[in-house]
Symmetry: C2
Subunit: 366 residues, 2 copies
Amino acid sequence: MRVRDLGEFPLIDRLAARLGPYGKDVVVGLGDDTAVIRKSEDRLYLVTCDIQVAGVHFLPEAVTPRRLGRRIAAINLSDIGAMGGEPRHFLISLAVPPDTEAAFLDDLYRGLVETAGRFGADVVGGNVSRHDALVIDAFLLGEVEAGREVLRSGARPGDLVMVTGRLGASRAGLALLLGEADGGPAVPGDVRERVLAAHQEPEPRVREGRVISRLGGATAMIDLSDGLASDVGHICDASGVGVLLREEALPVDEDTLAVAALVEAATAARKEAAGPSGRADGHMDAARAQAVRWALTGGEDYELCFTAAPRAAERLAAEVEAVTGTPVTVIGEVLPPEGGRWLVRADGRRVPLEAAGWDHLRTEEA
Amino acid sequence: MRVRDLGEFPLIDRLAARLGPYGKDVVVGLGDDTAVIRKSEDRLYLVTCDIQVAGVHFLPEAVTPRRLGRRIAAINLSDIGAMGGEPRHFLISLAVPPDTEAAFLDDLYRGLVETAGRFGADVVGGNVSRHDALVIDAFLLGEVEAGREVLRSGARPGDLVMVTGRLGASRAGLALLLGEADGGPAVPGDVRERVLAAHQEPEPRVREGRVISRLGGATAMIDLSDGLASDVGHICDASGVGVLLREEALPVDEDTLAVAALVEAATAARKEAAGPSGRADGHMDAARAQAVRWALTGGEDYELCFTAAPRAAERLAAEVEAVTGTPVTVIGEVLPPEGGRWLVRADGRRVPLEAAGWDHLRTEEA
């Protein structure tokens, strides 16, 4: 059995089974946004790492090194945010091709230190090695008051499901980098810049996570790295619950819809150029469907998804918006475990969440 | 200026200059075996990471995955040992080619968890990504009592310089893997196995480091990863001192001498085969010189090098040997900063330590 046939999450489960018993100070091991280690009676340490590989996670020729540094900081800060914690200290492992310009690394570190510093974290060490591809692995240590950590495992049937910010914009930015809108109408410069920034330099929701942690009442939380459909599934797995999300409620913004429309127009133009069987009509519906797919499965939005009982949910949403200015949207509710995992489409059809991101959907009447 | 022209340590210095002010809980940032973070009034956290790249740090076809896992654990454990600390928790970042056998990773993790467990550490998390080369980055969190941490920066003129165990055996193992003894006399199987183990599965000196830390009196300590000449230079840099090492005192064992002799014999045989200008005589002297070079610059021995005033040094050496069975050897002494950095050759010549590992030596009368 090869890694390619096994897939990421089954591989992690398989490796997790190899891990021996944890030390007594381990509160949570593998399986949440971070591991949780007891620091003292009233404080916990949060530890997380994330490896980023050139050509897999980023395109070195399409991103400035400073922005790449900010992105790498943000991805890790986001995991601490998703636990309700405060980031503290980064270690950075670098593998670099020997012909890399030192100025490139200067700027990468400048970006890293800038974004870390904005959230109260520093870079205290690391190591450097040579390799034929640029690999950057960041390790981040954070802290949270004992009892204030928000795990993935506490969601209860009847809780509301909420997200911060907007969904799909990161994937819209990636679409432009991948040339998916090439050959269609021009992408307005301001739209392009905003979705590229969403993809290359996501804003980690550390302050939002702290507000949620301190106010109390959130039963589960995760940051959206793989995509909403997959990540909300991790909450379901850890909490032993089902979920129902509403397509109409997903916070997809105008920029993302605009890029989706331009990608659809470009696709239609290519089909038309290819022969008389091409069709350009109806592409606004297709654009909306594309944007929803990006919101569900595009990934890398680095928003927070969290659950709370309805009354607490209202208070949490109001407080996050008041303190941070970041909107919070209720997008669905937690079901009992036997309730399954569903997306209710705009037309009322209910589709299995795991299939909701794909073009060919299994459907079932709601 | 490219990374290749800058070199590893100037690059690290350059990146270090980018790091902002550290948080108040940072006791030591970049520049020691680990970063040091205050945990409480009487406890410190130690954090370290090390990235290992297939083809750069190990040859995947020449090492079993289980042994590779043990090696990766050992390299990081060694850094905690060099601070006098107790290892606690690993996080592992993996980048794997998709056609990797899952069983390979099973065994890698088995080895990792085994060696971590032998020293009281566990593996609490990590992340997995795809890449065309296997990259394994390990982060290790450890602890030490406040005041018991042994930094690189406390060596004083008159202190003795000591090392645990033996030097050069790891490089002897690498020589066999690189085929440097091919074409010469056969390498005895038991010698081969011992030097391969030294290279592929070094024994981290965690217990030795703990004895040194608890007994007190050690003024500086480092683990030998780059090679004695370079690593003792790090103590000199951090402590602002000079050093004098004695070639005759270096603990080079019989296995390393044997492999060095076989490599020299193979080299002589190749020269002879190449034409009449080859010489096979005098290769035992050449073998001894080779073994000394390996001890000074071969690297990856993962022994501890530490300094202490003469009386404390005697007590430390005796206690480490009594408690752990690991020999400790005095190999030189610390000089005032203006004293320079020297190696005294077996024939009494004094050579600059930075050149002592090279074939073409700058020499100076002692």
